[in-house]
Symmetry: C2
Subunit: 220 residues, 2 copies
Amino acid sequence: MTDHDIQSQILSETANLGRTLGQAHRLNLLETIAQGERSVERLGELTGLSIANASQHLQHLRRAGFVQTRRDGKRVLYRLGDGPVLELLTALRQYVEHQRTEIGAFVDDSRHQLNRVEGISRHQLLKRLEQEAVTLLDVRSEEEYALGHLPGALNIPLEELESRLAELPLDHEIVAYCRGPYCVLSVDAVTALCAKGLNARRLERGFLDWRAAGLSVETL
Amino acid sequence: MTDHDIQSQILSETANLGRTLGQAHRLNLLETIAQGERSVERLGELTGLSIANASQHLQHLRRAGFVQTRRDGKRVLYRLGDGPVLELLTALRQYVEHQRTEIGAFVDDSRHQLNRVEGISRHQLLKRLEQEAVTLLDVRSEEEYALGHLPGALNIPLEELESRLAELPLDHEIVAYCRGPYCVLSVDAVTALCAKGLNARRLERGFLDWRAAGLSVETL
DNA sequence: AAAACATTCAATTGATTCTTTGAATGAAAA
DNA sequence: TTTTCATTCAAAGAATCAATTGAATGTTTT
């Protein structure tokens, strides 16, 4: 077998896996199985599928190695396969998570009140930092913060913001930032902070722009 | 929006991503783009697709956020998106890698000469270990070895076996093992070792079975 | 051995998806 | 402006895939 053939065989095997994950019902089944061994009937119930249909999807999952079966009396129980299935699911979930915090071209801005939030450019921020007290607030996840953040920035992931308000100053300005211009985290953060009466604005183009401009980045 | 609705929306968004990865041509394009920014024409050449077809697939990838574009003169250049795309691709590749070392129900055993390799059961192994000198050889990857292995086993991943033959004893028996009964690594290892004149056998049900039996496991 | 039961298989229908073709954009060069 | 060129769009036929139905399989219970 030539090198090229092997490559294209791997590619189509990979595509098969992708296709297997490319069906909401199957993903649903897989996530359900990830929570524990179940019979076909139970899986059908839990996912709202007819038994025959569930069975068919389950076999698709089995062919891909995502699940394995064993017999227990007259039932067949499905469990996760022993490859790195969870790792793959986690990578997928993390990607989706990231996608959902991006402002897509078609996402309605009204849900995240982008226009009502005051922005500040990188240049304005640099001037401010020289002149007066400004608290830099990084609202991305701890992992992203650890990989690099603006020097001196405080990290409070958006989900923790409400419970950690006490860490923020009441007397001077807060500038919140997240990944980039299309990241929605800082918009929501500033909206929340302003609602609490804090003086908060949003760094317009976020961390990606800061790093791209060659400005210094702090890591953990 | 109810909780259930959000869940099923996430599920179908995830399925969309899966479907996007579920096409060999698209995966090929994506892997090519991962190696550097390229125009549509070049990508078409490199992947053997018509330009219109390549363009269509590229837009599919773009809708999923896997790639982004910029214009340079009269060309449109495609690059990777700024989400955790590589992480996802890596997880996929690792899963495929794992799959390819499993003996599928339909895989032809003749490629991996399973029947020509002498197996040894867990019980036989335990007896042997009490009586005589046996070298235990773990042919899985370093990562898997680090997560747990049979006590005292030597780790030489299959790929390194040929170059590290000197580490193995000529005078007494070697028992090689890998993940489980369907893992092909130890089969290939024993075939290679026997061909070199070493006295090697294969632990029939591998590490998974050992751990499942509650026997002691060593970690790094 | 027969009945009851959970699961799987097979065949059909309807819906998506892929490729190709040729036309339409839209930016740069003449 | 007009021409050129890379890319995208749109439509149509071919191929693949999902859900449903009813029958078949293989266990357990009677």
